[in-house]
Point group: D2
């Protein structure tokens, strides 16, 4: 191995996050034995991602958001996949990984998308937040947008998670923990959407999730990252239930699949019988 | 779809864990809006896996164990894989999934294996725990075992996580939260190992992790499951760092790989030039 | 980086398989430009795994086995998962990976298990193959075995893939390409099973797959590996169909999941409303 | 389950690709027993993706492209990840999946990106292909583009795979199998790039790969899909080598990671010792 390669490898792997030496492990400067038993899992997540421990009230808000995101039931594809995968004879870690792997742009990405939109509205021209929201939505629908991520829900006429998270932002705002500007913004968006559509289009869990993470100053990509950490718990629970119930590999999908092939008469194969 | 298929599918997907109806989500009977802001993430994980909320002191012990498991640095293959995968242009969820997928029997499975051993020792013949431990280890080494999972460490002469977790079990035992039998057992194993080898072979984090989960009454496979949830946070942190630093796809592996092929002169290919 | 670490890394990454230098790529000693256009994909797979190119007739047999394994329809969980994953907004590679990840012991592992059994029977005491088969099955059922992997099928009274693969082994045996001992063995197993059960229990595709790979001298773990390579093509096709059809993330799983939670009245939460 | 749900599920799962009934499996209308032993794996892949069997000369071109893509050595992250994952105690299928999961936009996506560009140039205004190429590149560099995917290589001054694939397109063009327009186009791009940069910037394997798939009429996303199928073979080979060599979980990454944390003195923790 050349010296250049050696230096390149050494440089590629350097990290700010964790230091491991004999008898000594530090997360972002904190000795691990001081963290264990003294800070919560959610505070540790914050420390790793942000480089510093949060205020306990900030942590409580993040914790609430993660509790809200743990599970959305087996009709959520990530849960369905975890429940199916474990019956195929893989490890629990593989079943969880399979579910997480499906938390893509359309499934686990809504929080991140809403958050990017909130930051975009914040940074758009103008001084009045309501006017900025109205302009943004005007443009969204003019450009052919139909469903605004973060608002409305297939199942829920009112999303109980969203209401509760917005309440918690309000409490934290009253406490001076956050400024409350994003809670105001998503409510303004809800009002404007409802006015436009002529029916109630309430904030959903993705909208409230994004508002909390924006209030707490997270970068938008972390909205997906933190959602993944929370949802992993739901995936584990479904995989374990599937395993404990002794579910069989066959069954989750109908076995009388409709075959729609309507092509040509197939070509005669030279060697076919 | 036949009625039989319909019933089979319906039965396959039933769940005890989560109920989702219009405006109403329940985890194990609890309305989600009552959980959000009132219970911690770790308490929610316990609820999903065990069917009931834990006592706060039980939760504190589980939380400590998860904090201890979040990160083991980039020389841990799961972290390394997450840090590499994100540079390949996949989503954060895919990078985390890739890391979790590697938490197999040899990497993330040690806690589960130690826990299975602790339960085996507990259930073995005899009344004196120290005698049971001695018999078990006698047999382990007679059958050719070399390294007992859960004891000793490649890097750490004393593992700071293990000591701290055992202390927390002691405190919880004094508080009547747990019985402390598994903390005693791993200490007895440490003493017996040290006696046999003639040098100190201390409990490591896997051993202490297993002891906590056994004290708390978890089933052994959940030792891996819970480890995965904790480690997911470390994987996210490394993936985000790798992305933020703008690391390139090439670099983590030496580019002057040693080629050891020493076969035959290759066969002449008919069409080769 | 210490010299020891450097040497360790260098040693860890050495490989017999591929050599890459400026303007020069060799697979197992063969220049890539001589392989491209002159050997088939299946011959290249053989070269990479075995270290030498196969005889074209050997390659034809492996190719037939892989064609037989490409697809088993969407009620096969790996296909179902790939079709679901792509609707979640991940890349085609992630959707294929999710499907492959589910090809575990119970799903993609049957070929490997049958192959291990064939080698076990071959190596068992005795000179007469039929007697060895009878003894093995006697023991299998005595020990509580119920369904012998590789024989019988949930859907197919006769598996068209198995019959065709056994015919191809017969042709290759007549040609002197293989010895035909494993085709004989699986047929003897089929006969013995049928005699015992009093109804026809034919070889299925896993049984025939294992017989071909044993005839060709592959190690048993490669039975799963090669199956994965073949099935990957089916997974791609289903993921692409799902994407092209514009399938929605919701839909594959019933949305009226049965909730079976019947626990206690939940504990009153301190902060609950 | 409501009738509506039942119909929705039934509709979600319908497929054109494979029909499975008792004793009868059809891929795109062809009985599987007619395909096995009569068509190659690559022809079967084509059938599944395109709905019809290819001409053998078309298949040969696709086959050559897949042989060229099987392996790029362990400094390719997908290979590295597969080799690392198997040492963690997961199944071969999980190790392959982990590697494929990393074939994202930056790693496995180059072929698809080049192909999209080729189709864009083809459809741009103008009648003279060379002029269209010149205009496109002009714009690419004006907009700040630096490295044109599909051209130039970190290791190879001339990429032996690219030259060989272009030759095979030439032969197929002479045979009337393809029209050769994309081979012309990538050569025109190479010439224009070289003229602009004042040094040779040859077509690389991604460029030639894209040209072949465009000649054969594949949709651009399939460029990644087919690359994944080919590369899966290389991943299997590396995972098996890693397993056979008995490589340890520790070792691929330096164990003396540089810790760059330079933050504040950490905050005193209330409960810390």
């Amino acid at each position: 191995m050349s010296n250049e390669t050696r230096e390149h490898i050494r440089d590629w792997w350097r990290t700010d996050i964790v230091n491991v030496e004999d008898g000594n492990i530090r997360y972002r400067g904190y000795a691990i034995e001081d963290l264990i038993g003294n800070v919560s899992l959610v505070e540790t997540i914050w420390l790793l991602l942000r480089g510093e421990l949060p205020d306990p009230k900030q942590a409580r808000l993040l914790e609430a958001t993660m509790v809200a995101s743990v599970n959305a039931g087996p009709m959520s594809p990530s849960c369905a996949i975890a429940a199916m995968a474990i019956t195929c004879g893989v490890g629990l870690n593989n079943a969880i990984a399979s579910g997480i792997n499906a938390l893509g742009d359309t499934h686990g990405g809504a929080g991140q998308q809403v958050m990017e939109r909130l930051l975009l509205i914040r940074d758009s021209d103008g001084t009045d937040m309501h006017a900025k929201v109205a302009t943004h939505l005007e443009q969204f629908f003019e450009e052919g947008g139909r469903f605004l991520p973060g608002f409305g829900h297939r199942f829920h006429s009112v999303d109980p998670r969203a209401q509760r998270l917005l309440e918690l932002i309000d409490e934290a705002t009253a406490d001076g923990v956050v400024q409350g500007e994003y809670a105001k913004m998503v409510r303004a968006m809800e009002a404007e959407l409802t006015r436009r559509k002529g029916r109630n289009i309430p904030v959903n869990v993705d909208g409230a999730f994004a508002a909390v993470l924006a209030e707490l100053g997270f970068a938008a990509p972390l909205a997906r990252g933190i959602f993944v950490l929370a949802r992993a718990a739901g995936l584990l629970a479904h995989a374990v239930e599937s395993q404990t119930e002794g579910r069989r590999i066959k069954g989750p999908v109908p076995d009388d699949i409709m075959y729609t092939y309507s092509g040509h008469a197939p070509r005669a194969l030279p060697g076919a019988q």
